[in-house]
């Protein structure tokens, strides 16, 4: 193809996106579009899978049978999200094994929030409320993103995430209406998860590299700072209902902006965790790589069995 032809295709492609048409895997797409989508979708898939670990940490210790069942179901939903997202990513011409390889080698990233430990039961409530809550704010706009398989996966994922969020909030509500010790547990969890949740919405706009291109491709509709503000404005009244205090002494309603002003985020901490030095980065990667390595003989066996079955079938036919 000549340069001119490519340029032509690119123009048509951008025009389709501008008209809100969906791009499907078999359609022509610029290489950069493909690579950007592989990066973002796989990062999202990895986040779902790594995100199973901090919550999975409380399955065996959940305080009641009802909570245990709900938590198992939630973590299983996250596995399901991982599955659809890996499938969406595979339509771009990369295999799930390659994607895992990128995660295990540290080449691919996942949401940094999961590098914090879950130390009490209230953390399960706080994660549902805040982390799933922030995820929804990030993801609802993706339901109408330009790449068809991603948009469709997100519709399903978002429905479940909002269920998770309500469930998490309900755990917090129960704690806050419980004994003083339970309420203290809830406050402590909020104190530890608040700032990492704000960081989850990404670096400030002036530090964010991908925003402009992502806006064009509808991978992003609002900037990180806008999303963060939306999250704060939505969450503060919810904390009020719980009777919990947001751990930010600069948090104040701004009548003029009709929004909350808030304090300085510790971006040093954010970058430390992103670069792999958060409290649980090491443990999370060891858990993922360990599960993968311990499962190798099982996957090999399944493959060998399937091949032998096929051979046996072929012989019968002959």
């Amino acid at each position: 193809m000549s340069e001119e032809q490519i340029k032509n295709l690119e123009e048509q492609f951008e025009a389709r996106i501008a008209r809100d048409e969906k791009i499907e895997p078999k359609d022509w797409m610029p290489e950069k579009y493909r690579q950007t989508h592989i990066r973002q979708i796989s990062q999202h898939a990895h986040s779902e899978i790594v995100g199973m670990l901090p919550e999975g940490n409380w399955i065996t210790r959940a305080p009641s049978l009802r909570r245990k069942v709900a938590l198992l179901a939630k973590v299983q939903d996250e596995a399901g999200h991982g599955l659809y997202l890996y499938s969406a990513c595979e339509t771009l011409g990369i295999s799930r094994d390659e994607l895992y390889e990128q995660l295990h080698s540290g080449k691919a990233k996942y949401s940094s929030i999961f590098n914090y430990p879950t130390v009490t039961w209230a953390d399960i409530g706080a994660i549902g409320w805040l982390v799933d809550g922030a995820a929804i704010i990030n993801q609802v706009p993706l339901c109408s993103t330009s790449f068809g398989p991603y948009a469709r996966a997100m519709v399903r994922v978002c429905k479940e995430e909002s269920f998770h969020q309500r469930q998490g909030y309900e755990i917090m509500l129960k704690l806050c209406n419980g004994t003083p010790e339970q309420k203290e547990m809830a406050q402590d969890a909020l104190n530890r998860w608040w700032w990492p949740s704000l960081m989850m919405l990404g670096p400030t706009d002036d530090m964010s590299v991908h925003t402009e291109q992502s806006m064009k491709w509808k991978l992003k509709r609002k900037t990180n700072d806008e999303l963060r503000q939306q999250f704060i404005d939505q969450t503060v009244p919810q904390a009020d209902i719980l009777g919990l205090t947001i751990p930010d002494s600069d948090l104040k309603w701004n009548e003029e902006r009709q929004s909350y002003d808030f304090g300085e985020i510790d971006w040093d901490e954010f970058w430390q965790v992103v670069k792999g030095h958060g409290p649980m980065n090491n443990a999370r990667m060891k858990a993922r790589v360990g599960a993968w390595e311990r499962g190798e003989w099982v996957r090999d066996a399944a493959m060998a069995h399937a091949e032998k079955q096929q051979e046996r079938k072929n012989k019968q036919v002959v």
Binding site: I59, L65, R67, A291, G295, W297, D300, A301, A302
Partner: protein, 251 residues
């Protein structure tokens, strides 16, 4: 308690599902693949769902103000009546599948009979559970065949797991005092009568999986009397952690 035998009988069934569900729950997020991870979580969810129905019923019979959670999480180790098989650890995926398979075949046979119980609560729980358990049995037997037939390594690993867990199979068919009374009343299942069908089915699948049927005639027992293996205390420490650390609270 008016009907201690019925209460104990229900616990005998429910504790198996609770402890196995707890064991499967440990694996969530750590499976060999996403698909097996989801399937093991599913089985755990099914079992714990069944457990809730059983304990809610047991709580009604106990009439002492205890809830399903009190019954599930606040007994002493000696008061859990599950068979030793289900408390065995997730040594590797082979052990997990072998444990599942050896239990599922029994569980399915037992529920098929329990569905005929004159106790309508138990019959209803059995009816609902049997669909789930037939799926569990298919899943675990498929894996036994896959691992037996797969590679040299998988064959030897699954054979080892079957050999090690075999010693816990006989206990499935022991009758407790509560069993005897409940069988006489038409409520309970006579597990002694399930034994032949069980070994016939298990042996057939092992054979199809090119595995050998263990020859050992020495079996372990005690779970049904509350005498467990050394693994049990640790499992309960996890299971009971919150209820013990923060007594008398709602969650």
């Amino acid at each position: 308690m008016k009907n201690k035998n019925l209460y104990n009988y229900i616990l005998g069934i429910a504790d198996n599902s609770l402890i196995l569900g707890q064991r499967l729950g440990e694996l969530c997020g750590h499976g060999p693949s996403l698909e097996t991870d989801i399937a093991c979580t599913n089985m755990s969810l099914d079992l714990l769902g069944q457990v809730r129905s059983y304990y809610q019923y047991a709580a009604k019979i106990a009439e002492d103000g205890r809830t399903e959670d009190d019954i599930a999480m606040l007994r002493k180790e000696r008061e859990y009546f599950n068979v030793l098989l289900v408390e065995q650890p997730n040594t590797d995926f082979g052990y997990t599948m072998a444990r599942q398979f050896l239990f599922d075949v029994y569980h399915f046979l037992m529920l098929t009979e329990l569905e005929k119980s004159t106790d309508l609560n138990l019959s209803a729980i059995a009816k609902k559970s049997i669909k789930e358990v037939s799926y569990h049995k298919r899943f675990s037997s498929d894996w036994i065949k896959r691992l037996g037939d797969g590679t040299e390594e998988s064959h030897s690993r699954i054979q080892t797991a079957i050999n090690d867990l075999w010693t816990y199979t006989d206990e499935l068919f022991h009758q407790t005092e509560a069993d005897k009374v409940m069988v006489a009343e038409g409520v309970g299942v006579d597990v002694t009568k399930l034994k032949d069908a069980y070994y016939e089915e298990v042996n057939a699948i092992l054979e199809e999986a090119t595995l050998s049927v263990p020859e050992s005639k020495y079996f372990q027992k005690g779970g049904k009397q509350g005498i467990h293996t050394e693994h049990m205390g640790y499992l309960l420490a996890d299971l009971q952690y919150m209820q013990r650390t923060y007594p008398n609270m709602e969650w």
